[in-house]
Symmetry: C2
């Protein structure tokens, strides 16, 4: 317990759960670190941020700046993937304290002969370790400080900037203190900026009534690329169970020819490491992944840890399922709902270590065999949190490029915990946020609280599971708004394909589910069809690629605009080289107008100076001379996406 | 890393700096603990708060209640002084989950024969450990669950409250998880409720021009007791340095007969374990402490770790001081201010361990020799934080009744850190908070943030060092307001004696310091004089003793009142047996009136019901029939102190 150090370091931020979880970041991001650093008395103190990559032995030392209320700050830039470590070091700086004291005494007209003598001690200490040039300067000072006949010159040198710089460069961290070591995990940039497209491979055929194949998917790649998507996600491509297979529209009795839910994984044809025969071969899949890559598209696989009743595991590893006293296996249910075609994995099994290993081997198989780098994880919230923490860490140790999207639409703390356990991105409540207040509140929660350090949102207006009320009316303006909001509020975004582009919002009556859902049947699409929606989605996606402000989510500021149907926000990249103002109307029926307040302070623009804004969608430019400026939007094109030109 | 548990426990609150510091409490306090407890999936989970006193081996287990957003809560009561440990334990409760599931299935009209069979497993598990009475009940259930012919009775029993209670009483914490262990430090009740009076013993004589003695102090004890004070604090009573002694009004050259500052401790007569000869002997002091105790008063000693230039330490332990190159010792200074009569202790000395031991021995000496239980620590913020953490812990290990008041008027984080290191109470910025907004903001900071768990304020309107601007006008109404605010906002309060009661606010010109300060000279007081201020101070102090709502600081709620010169607040003890509403006018010149909103919800009173309030100062009662009620206060008696009578 006895510890002579005089410095206290507290409240290091960012910090999650006392350092239990790393903060998340991506390559080239700059992390602002703050901490309270204090000492007893009135002595001058100093603090440094120490940072190193897990692969390095040497700490990089960054001097911290004192801010208000004993808080100090400094930044570091992450440049490599993997873990970074950071900590704060603080000390009472006797040399700087001496200089500060002598300055105040001189200002108060006191004689400092004795203080100059004391200063010699600091010079001599630095002489032991400094560079030649500094040595000669310090050697020149020593006799001045010792000899009263040079008093006037001595005090000038004593308080000089030059000496201050030397003291700062060669600190003596006598009795220093340091914080606990905290961690940051640095991902590749795609963790933060990605544009997803989802379709069902079995609906990819251009011929109606035919089961789609990987070859058909290959033919669709140029379309996906042209629309500006960089991640193509497929629902599971594994053999589909035949026992208790579901029929169209989730009926329990499949009819002859019904294809079943592709999430009912596993049959006599194999399990999670096999491919559904009608889609093609492993080689077809490899070729698809490779062709996609050439077009700048990564294929994201579904990672759904559950089994159809005829999955090979059920016989090979019966201990991985929960057996009931009547000799049957417990199928998935959330009483009173039943999922008869799916058996959940029994994670409380005493054979859990082998089970975990098998699950890991599935991910590694697709990574190693088919060059898969992105997984969309199905229902991760029904498997133990620590299992994910372990699995993701094991994968990323070997393959740091691999990204995991958490498909957990559940309670907030559970979604957040999955992110803390290592999920790269997460689906969100965006799908159900419609009003201005709802959107602002949700974005502020994601970006202005500690969630910004671990929870990376991915905004989807729809998914095969969710056909939200707002889209069910098939109002084109709503679809335009929703895509615009998803793609400009969040840097990670995605849509579930043709049902969205072609306004196919028909629903099961009274439910937020699609009618004739592709989860249970093949649908046929005229993939060549282009419309306003496909055109604008492509346009927005290409604008996202060109503007760094749209490639991150956290630097957002909502702007005052005097109309509850108009939402406006200012976004910028970290060094403000790219600045965007988005304005969107939430009214799909009528024109809406209002006055928008420019964030002049944040933009670094003086009141009275002109601002030129250029709409990246319409290519119109406007000269704004005032802080408040008029905007009007019509449902036909319910948004502006302004680039700020200074 | 692999860990099969499914439960996550996070955000345990209260918790200071990740458990680094204990939270503070006093005997009989009830601590509310909250935590996020969550598991994957939809299973029913359960959580317990586990608590034990450091002296006990057995954890007390308290079932937690689920609140909103995956947060759980429970309380524990601290009954003994010393450290308590607490932690949270959580698990997936299979038996409760089974019961919950069966209930939902029955409600959905499903047949649960197989589920009943599963239930037998939970019954058998509990049969191994439960009491006889429960055994016979469970033995009666087993055949019902197994035999389909008793189905109707079986399902009634399966979902019964009785079975639920048994499952709750005998949980199977399979794969449970638990939080880190956190600590609470429990003090005697005086830590939270104390009423201080300060005077200079050397000014205690009834004869003008005579140096006061402990005998004179003894004669004043009945006066102190009658005024309702329970803690009598004396500035240092040790020999006063003769070298560089300060003169009246802080002049550097003491004249013959000048008594010097009693904080310039140590002379040829001794140091911190000696008594200033003119005050009397150690035996006189012991007798004073003992007589005070008989009247319910504890004597608080000043603990000022610094030395006059002629303190015996300077010769005996020169290494405990910082020597300058010119052979002199560095006196205390805060450039350009100089304290020539005081040498600071050199805590960076390499002999620091002996130094610390000597400091500890001073406290132990007065505790053991003279039964001192309370120390007011002078300028603790100019000595290392960890030194205090160590010293206070060492003292309290042996003498848990000892209390330490931190006299640190400095930056907020520094004052807070001293509290975290173990100071029982702290002086505050109350001395400079005058307006309604300032007072509300400060109280909310102290009581509605985590400070409530470690920083115990002691409100003083004045001290020998601080004669605040507001008191310098000698306006009686201001003095009344200030004492009322100090004593009803904070349960720990104190005044620096006769200068306050007798409105002696004369100041050094342009400074918040007393003219003819007792720090540097003896003053003569007519201690028999009574006035409105002494009468009302006594009255308020006696009301504090009778009303538990005023014996704590944290349960406060400011009330709406439509006048910026009127401040109103509702205070209550933890079980709301005592409820107070205070209203005070901040205007010393004119009457102020307004409408006050009763906190009906918090008071548990329905709108439309009558409330009787009784003014404890004037003994007037009022019947209030409305939520908003009229009040008017005049500078002559600028407050109401209402007891709520239901």
């Amino acid at each position: 317990m006895p510890n002579q150090t005089r410095v206290i370091i507290e409240n290091v931020h960012p910090q999650l759960d006392g350092g239990l979880h790393p903060i998340s970041c991506v390559v080239n991001e700059i992390i602002l670190v703050e901490a309270d650093v204090l000492a007893d008395g009135h002595d001058v103190i100093a603090a440094q941020l120490h940072v190193k990559h897990e692969g390095s032995k040497k700490w990089l030392e960054v001097r911290m700046r004192p801010m208000e209320n004993d808080c100090w700050s400094a930044e570091f830039k992450v440049e490599k993937q993997g873990f970074y470590e950071y900590k704060i070091v603080g000390w009472v700086d006797h040399a700087l304290n001496w200089q500060h004291g002598i300055q105040r005494k001189i200002e108060a007209g006191q004689k400092v002969t004795s203080e100059l003598l004391e200063g010699v001690e600091y010079l001599e200490e630095i002489l032991k370790k400094c560079a030649e040039e500094e040595k000669s300067y310090l050697n020149h000072l020593t006799p001045l400080f010792k000899n009263e006949s040079h008093y006037d010159q001595a005090i000038l040198e004593a308080v000089s900037e030059k000496l201050h710089a030397i003291f700062t460069k060669y600190p003596n961290k006598f009795l220093y203190n340091e914080s606990a070591i905290l961690k940051a995990y640095c991902d590749r940039e795609k963790a933060r900026f990605s544009t997803w497209y989802e379709f069902f491979p079995r609906s990819a055929s251009s011929i109606e009534g035919k089961h789609g194949t990987f070859k058909d998917c290959e033919a669709l790649l140029p379309r996906v690329a042209k629309m500006g998507f960089d991640t193509l996600y497929f629902p599971p491509i594994h053999p589909i169970g035949e026992v208790n297979r579901k029929g169209k529209n989730n009926t329990t009795a499949a009819l002859d020819g019904d294809v079943g839910s592709c999430w009912g994984i596993g049959s006599k044809d194999g399990g999670h490491k096999s491919i559904h025969r009608q889609l093609g071969s492993v080689d077809d899949f490899k070729q698809l992944v490779s062709k996609a890559k050439e077009l700048g598209i990564e294929i994201a696989m579904d990672f759904a840890l559950q089994a159809a009743p005829d999955h090979p595991w059920v016989k090979e590893h019966p201990q991985w399922f929960k057996w009931r006293p009547d000799g049957t296996v417990q199928y998935a249910e959330n009483p009173p709902k039943k999922y008869q075609d799916i058996l959940p994995i029994y994670f409380e099994s005493s054979d859990w270590k082998n089970l975990w290993d098998e699950m890991l081997s599935i991910a590694l198989y697709w990574i190693e065999e088919c060059d898969i780098q992105v997984f969309r994880v199905d229902n991760p919230h029904t498997k133990p949190f620590y299992f994910w923490g372990w699995l993701i860490a094991e994968v990323k140790k070997k393959y740091p490029n691999v990204l995991f999207l958490s498909e957990a639409f559940t309670r907030p703390k559970i979604m957040q915990q999955l992110a803390k356990q290592g999920f790269t991105q997460s689906y969100t409540y965006f799908t159900w946020r419609n009003t201005k207040h709802e959107l602002m509140e949700y974005l502020n929660e994601l970006t202005q609280t500690d969630q910004r350090y671990f929870f990376r949102p991915n905004f989807w207006p729809n998914t095969p599971d969710i056909n939200p009320w707002a889209l069910q009316g098939n109002n084109e303006s709503v679809y335009l708004q929703k895509y615009f909001l998803a793609a400009t509020l969040s840097s990670n975004t995605g849509i579930y394909g043709p049902v969205f582009e072609y306004l196919q919002g028909a629903a099961l009556p009274g439910r937020e589910e699609y009618l004739d859902s592709e989860k249970f049947q093949i649908r046929h699409w005229d993939w060549n069809q282009e419309n306003k929606l496909t055109t604008l989605i492509a346009k927005i996606n290409h604008i996202r690629k060109e503007h760094k402000a749209l490639q991150q989510t956290n630097n957002i500021q909502f702007l005052s605009i005097d109309n509850d149907q108009l939402l406006a926000y200012y976004k910028y990249d970290q060094n403000k080289e790219s600045e965007i103002i988005a304005v969107v109307s939430l009214d799909p029926y009528y024109s809406q107008k209002g006055f928008l307040q420019l964030p002049l302070g944040e933009m670094g623009i003086q009141v009275g100076h002109q601002v030129k804004v250029h709409d990246l969608i319409t290519h119109s430019s406007y000269l704004w001379n005032n802080e408040w400026n008029f905007v009007e939007l019509h449902p036909v094109l319910p948004f502006h996406l302004f680039k700020i030109q200074k």
